[in-house]
């Protein structure tokens, strides 16, 4: 128990919790909104996107953090872009070659990881001036923070929009699918409701 309490107060643990909650990429930093609107209409899409982003985020933060003393300040943005796109292309090729089924299900989403602002944001705000270990923890926590919000959104959207969960029918036969939830505008409303709820809780707990 005492050991557990000690872990709670370490720097690494605080970094981990910050990414999941106080500085959550979606509802606090409001990064990665485009993908959270685009891919959350089915739970399986949300999960695969979450895994993809988390993987590329970890790889990018490892590279940037280990090179942080060598990257010239003026070209750091180009460096982030190069590293991120290299990893995304690698992920895309490997999926295509070894897991063609999954690659097909993801379709254009793999390429879309490049445009996810969380990657650029975390490279610039965190890994450029933190140690390798802290960067890895930050990457995992931001990746998970992003993934669970996607999951929360996709559960509601799939349920209301298609009447299914993981592709299985759960709503009754009389249920009229809510088409608005399957397209991006519906996601906008849902996201703002989530932002509202989470920020209210955040404010309450901080005071």
């Amino acid at each position: 128990m005492i050991r557990f309490k000690k872990i709670l107060y370490t720097r690494s643990f605080r970094i981990f919790i910050t990414g999941l909650w106080r500085d959550n990429p979606i509802f606090c930093m409001v990064l990665g909104i485009c993908s959270s609107l685009a891919v959350t209409n089915r739970i399986e899409n949300a999960i695969t996107m979450g895994i993809g982003v988390t993987f590329v985020l970890i790889a990018t933060e490892i590279i940037i953090s280990s090179l942080r003393n060598y990257i010239p300040v003026r070209v750091r943005m180009i460096t982030y872009m190069t590293v991120i796109s290299t990893f995304v292309i690698v992920v895309d090729r490997i999926l295509k070659a070894y897991l063609p089924k999954i690659s097909e299900a993801l379709g254009p989403y793999v390429g879309l990881i490049i445009t996810n602002c969380i990657l650029m944001g975390r490279a610039e705000a965190f890994s450029i001036n933190h140690t390798l270990k802290e960067s890895i923890i930050d990457a995992i926590s931001c990746g998970l923070g992003y993934t669970y919000i996607l999951l929360l959104m996709s559960v509601i959207r799939e349920l209301l929009g298609f009447g299914t969960l993981f592709g299985y029918k759960v709503m009754g036969a009389n249920y009229e699918n809510c088409i608005a939830m399957t397209i991006a505008p519906g996601a906008f409303f849902l996201l703002s409701i989530y932002l509202w709820i989470f920020r209210t809780i955040l404010k309450r707990t901080e005071n």
Binding site: V90, R93, E104, T182, I183
Partner: protein, 189 residues
């Protein structure tokens, strides 16, 4: 001096990431090509409802299906005289392609199989679902296929489109008709 350092850094970074990508590309190229070939062959066999396994697809394909080349086009033919060809064109968001097969009378649709599409998931993306593709079964491709609002299909060349995906349905109709027209000329239909 500082500028030189930057240029050297960018050059080295470009070389390393470029080289890395070349290696990954060479390493995966052959596998990706094989996957593509498998996808096309399996779609053609699917459209003729011929069964196969992953290991014997080459044999099954060469035994049952004959590729006929005419002018610049090529189509596939089974022993029963059924005909299949590949269609492709742009959908609402990206390319759509697949295989359409006709009965031996060369005007009744047997089956449609989608190989690739990038439509909106859950809306236009539903063109890959059997429920939608089955609606084409038994329809007549002459004079042209028409996609009509859901539930309105009456004539034998009319097919219900997908609810909430008018753009994709219209694009799909255009792709099918263009391909069919092209092939009807060489098939003499």
């Amino acid at each position: 001096m500082k500028n030189i350092k930057i240029i050297v850094f960018v050059l080295i970074m470009g070389l390393i990431s470029g080289g890395f990508l070349v290696i990954v590309n060479n390493w995966t190229k052959e596998k990706i090509r094989k996957n593509m070939e498998f996808k096309i062959k399996s779609a053609i066999l699917d459209s003729f409802s011929i069964e196969y396994l992953k290991d014997n697809i080459e044999n099954v394909f060469s035994k049952n299906v004959e590729e006929v080349k005419m002018d610049t086009l090529s189509y596939y033919k089974t022993k029963n005289g059924e005909i299949g060809f590949i269609f492709s064109g742009s959908g609402l968001w990206g390319p759509i392609n697949g295989v359409i097969s006709l009965e031996s009378d060369k005007k009744t649709i047997r089956r449609i199989v989608i190989i690739h599409q990038e439509e909106t998931p859950g809306l236009g993306g539903r063109i890959t679902e059997e429920e939608f593709l089955n609606k084409f079964k038994g329809k007549i491709i002459l004079p042209e296929i028409r996609m009509v609002p859901p539930g309105k299909a009456e004539k034998e060349n009319e097919v219900d489109s997908i609810t909430g995906a008018t753009g994709t349905s219209k694009a799909f109709e255009k792709i099918l008709n263009q391909t069919i027209n092209k092939y009807m000329k060489i098939l003499g239909g």
